[in-house]
Amino acid sequence: MAGETLTRADLAEVVYEEVGLSRNESSELVESILSMISETLIAGTSVKISSFGTFAVRQKSERIGRNPKTGDEVPISPRRVLTFKASQILKQKIDGSWDGSLEEEE
């Protein structure tokens, strides 16, 4: 898929166009949103954005991995990973099957 890549600057630009605050404040607000979500996840709490999706932190226990080059066994330490589950609406929008309804799924 030869699409374009949006960055946080593009998000700030859309907020700027949509709300009419300064460019500077728009980009600070985008930054605030991202850090609030990050802080919440770091604290171990899930973040659910309706009609978009849910970010959740999962705890993984230690397991034995292997160095693919040498074949050596190495323990992979227990860690926390972030998962994102898209909402039904977002999945349908991407798949082109969204009918415009905002009924909350599940």
Binding site: M1, G3, E4, T5, L6, T7, R8, D10, L11, V14, V15, E18, V19, L21, S26, L29, V30, S32, I33, L34, M36, I37, S38, T40, L41, I42, T45, S46, V47, K48, I49, S50, S51, F52, G53, V57, R79, R80, V81, L82, T83, F84, A86, L90, K91, K93, I94, D95, G96
Partner: protein
């Protein structure tokens, strides 16, 4: 945390803004990401993560209850990869 809690918190930190504007700001951000993905674009937020769309080929699936074979059409699915900085912050 839900979207409305996020809006409340952002509004609390920006008392000079109307709540309805804070709501619009938050909705705009997520709508823009959704729209970009729907167009087939990627959204890369350094330090946080990247959203992209993966194409799944058509396959023959099976109804797990009846065992019946069903054709599953090709489809596009959203995908998120956590950014390095956030991944590191989750595992200090």
């Amino acid at each position: 945390m839900t979207k409305s809690e996020l809006i409340q918190q952002l509004a609390g930190e920006n008392p000079h803004l109307y709540l309805r504007d804070v709501e619009r700001i938050v909705n705009t951000v997520f709508d823009e990401i959704s729209d970009a993905l729907s167009r087939g674009d990627r959204v890369e937020i350094r330090g946080f993560g990247a959203f992209s769309v993966k194409e799944r080929e058509a396959r023959t699936g099976r109804n797990p209850r009846t065992g019946e074979a069903v054709e599953v059409a090709e489809k596009k699915v959203p995908f998120f990869k956590t950014g390095k900085q956030l991944r590191d912050m989750l595992n200090p």
